[in-house]
Amino acid sequence: MGYFEGFRVTFEQLFRPRVTIQYPEEKRPKALRFHGRHVLNKYEDGMEKCIGCELCAGVCPARCIHVRGLDNPPDAPVSPGERYGFVYEINYLRCIHCDLCVEACPTEAITESKLFEFSFSNRQDAIYTKDELLVADDGQPKHLPWEDWREGEDLHTSAWVRATAPNGDADYEGRVAWSAELGYGVRPPEAGQLGDDDAGAPIDDITVEQVAEGGHH
């Protein structure tokens, strides 16, 4: 019997629900505040939020951001104010997705999407240019040919995510302290952030429950 005894675990597992999934056809939901590839946001009027201040580059522990500022052309300003981000590059061979750049940005220009599945065949391609990082005309991240985007991964990209983060300043909980953005307007505060009887907006597709089930190990 010793022989079959050895297969007991195997047979038991055969009748249990599967935990592995058929990746990449099928994917687990990602955490609400998952740190993926960055996007550069725009205001509702289409102006870029980035002012080229290099604070993100200064704070980045991996030193993977390269920003250069330039004077806004007076007749066709790119961003509000004097200066705009003329060059903006992130090297994804170095980025550790710590999101310190997002924290540092004074204008909520740089935030992160949920996308992390992208690969390159040479180092040059791993450097995302400003054009690739900038949201499209509908305010959504551009879906680049080598990236594998899934439903919902491009939704929670705004500063809203950061401003309502539980580790943010308690005084600001539930207060709209973020700016409007192209394609979305001013996003409402997250449910649960306004105290007992608040009627905060429901979070659309990716719920907190899903996060609890399928989050990181």
Binding site: C53, E54, A57, R83
Partner: protein, 889 residues
Amino acid sequence: MTEQTETKKDTVTVTVDGKTFEAAPGELVIAAAERHGIYIPRFCWHPRMKPVGMCRMCLVEIEGVRGLPPACTTPVAEGMVVDTRTPVVKKAQDGVLEFLLINHPLDCPVCDRGGECPLQDQTFSFGPGESRFVEEKRHFEKPIAISELVALDRERCIQCARCTRFADEVAGDPLISFVDRGDHTQVLTFPDDPFTSYFSGNTVQICPVGALTASPYRFKARPWDLDQVESTCSTCAVGCRVNLQSSQNDLVRMLGVDSEPVNHSWLCDKGRFGYQAVEHDGRVTHPLVRKGDELIEASWSEAYAAAAKGLADVRDLHGAGAIAFLGGARGTNEDAYAWAKLAKGVLATDSVDCQLDDGLPAAAVLGLPRATIDDACRAKAVLLLGPDLKEELPVLYLRLREAVVDGGVAVVELGPQSTGMTRHAKTTLLYRPGEAVEVARALTSGRDPMPDAGGVRGEELAAAAGILGRAGEGVVVVLGRPSVAESGRTVAEAAAVIAAAWPQARFLPALRRGNVMGALDMGLAPGVLPGRVGLDAGREWFSQEWGVLPEEPGLDAAGIVGAAAEGRVQALVLLGADPINDFPDRTLARRALAGAGFVVAVDTFLTDSSREADVVLPAAMYGEKAGTTTNIEGRVTRVNQKVTAPGTVRSDWIIAAELAQRLGGDLGFDSTAAVWAEIARLAPSHVGLTADVLGRRENRDGVVAPYEGEGPPRHEAPVEQIEAAAAVHQGETLPSEAVAGAPEHAAVDEPSDDDDPAGAGRPPLLTFAVGDAGSTAAPPAVDAYALRLVAGRRLYDNGVTVRHSAHLAGLAPSPRLRANPYDLDRLGLGTGDRVRVTSSRTTLTLEVAADTGIPRGSVALPFNLPGEGAADLIDGTQPVTDLRVETTN
């Protein structure tokens, strides 16, 4: 810093925050506290300007004094007890900052000052942390360009008056000031009068906020991505200490470092913004070799081979004397030494000149007793026989101006036209071009009554002699070339006359090119060898090490150009020299380049001259190489590398060493450190001045050569280690940074005692006496119909630096012929008229302007401005250039 030699009774005892120390009487509390590590916040006070007490940030409590006096206007007193951190002081600081921030915009992320801003820093350290003001702030039009170089954002200004005081007190160009009152107070230029000071960049450096920003640096980088190294400015020969800053391997900014004996933290705008030339796209980045009519890109080995073959052929066919070197005054001392050794020690030609007949004979510069800048500023009287210092050596002008305005030094100016210094001079003697010697003779003759001489009236000469005294005691002569249209020999001869009559007078050379003094010290001139010795005096000393040496003294630049034009010099090596633009006589320079059969140009850009070359070897520029440089005083300081050179560009000394090898010689060094070690071992004026000595903390401002050695050797940590340990917040005096490049130097073994040839057999240093300048032809008699040309220079000219600096290029004025209104009247002309000007060389059409600063009988036309000008008119074979001026039509 200054030596502390006070004895007990010269100091007062003060206590600041419980710390008791001695301070000099009259010293301000803020400065005394800072020297002892107690930082009192401030905005308006600057250590190099008079205190005004405008911003109230420095309020402190002083025992027994009512209220809170400002530390920046209160001098220390015996027994004074000061508190800088009490709750009352804290409340005052909170108040001042809150008040300043009421109208201060939230521009930090886009402000060039953000990250290194005294207002940010002090708000962070001393401020209340939160603002109670929600009202709309004051608004002004965002940055307005108050000059080509400076932008002003009035919203950010905190009215500290540093900029206006600098412009008025330090630079003497009061072009910006406050207008309006109350919360509408703003800094502004006068209508239609931009901030065209040569020193405007300093206001940007000292503005404690981002109200004044530099256009060349605008949005180029942020403080946290800058990397910096301390170096010496090489744009002119004052040798200001600077911090060279780069971002991503691009030079982006230069800041002045406070060097007590030299620049007091100031820079001129050409020095400050000239780094743009280094970043210019038009650099020569690869060697070029002539194939037919074209210069074709080649490998270094091809280029070396071509250059060596050309030189060797000329040497074998016509002798070493047919090879000549021009230039070399823009590199490091090491570069200059390497070229001197190649020319004199390998090729054995003495026809080498780092000046282009636009300076003074080497013997005069090296042989006259030398003064330092401090000597000049503390002299009883200064005799200025040289160029317009404001145009050519701007920071020397600032230093002398300060000495006159605050120190009461009497300046006697002797020149062919008035200059920027004229309004500060006690008297200005305007002589007829070419007749400086006559004036010098009369001035030192002590005759009574004084006769007229060289176009100067006797009374004027007598008054000047009265100021200068009889024996030259306490007199410093600032000696340079007042005009390239008169021979430099006459000026040197005048200096010799003065030196002979006044043995106590000392001389401060006022030559302009970055390292011209180093190049002369290293022997890049005819008749001299490295270390300020004559060719014959040093022959024995150097032949032991160098092997061959030139037989005969060679030609100077004028001789070389003349000989090349006649085909007697067959090969020309241009070391960054552009004779077509820089030699006084352009016609002759063109003929010389055509006449020399073979031309090698070691250059950074293709200039009018290097375009004519057969081989072009691309050389590294300022900021791309390390080494040492020498200023007008003979002060040796370090220059350091900050960025890598483009393409395959190499340092001059490497090019010299490689060429030597292909010419069958061996310069015998393989690093800048090794070159310097050889200089410190061999060059008689530099013996013992090793990298180790230069690196000592007490020598951070450089060492003045000739080096006289010192007492027992001190075993001290090199500067960089001490610096790192003593990194304190210095406020506005930029902490001079660890000297990079030092490790390279430090790696050299010092010569041990037994192979140090010091003493025994060391040749004597050069001296200079009447007659040593060579014969000077007397200028021809004045012709009543002709006007004699005076050609001075302008700061912004058509030189390589200005031409290739985007923000400076447009500042070069267009040439105008200036003449005394009397002469213009006589010719029936007025300002703005166009005239035909004829010399023995050519005829030009120019605009005239009346100028009372030009003596009658002379006309002034600045040298080397864009387009046709003085160089086309000057006849270098004559002692002076006479012009005929006629109306057009």
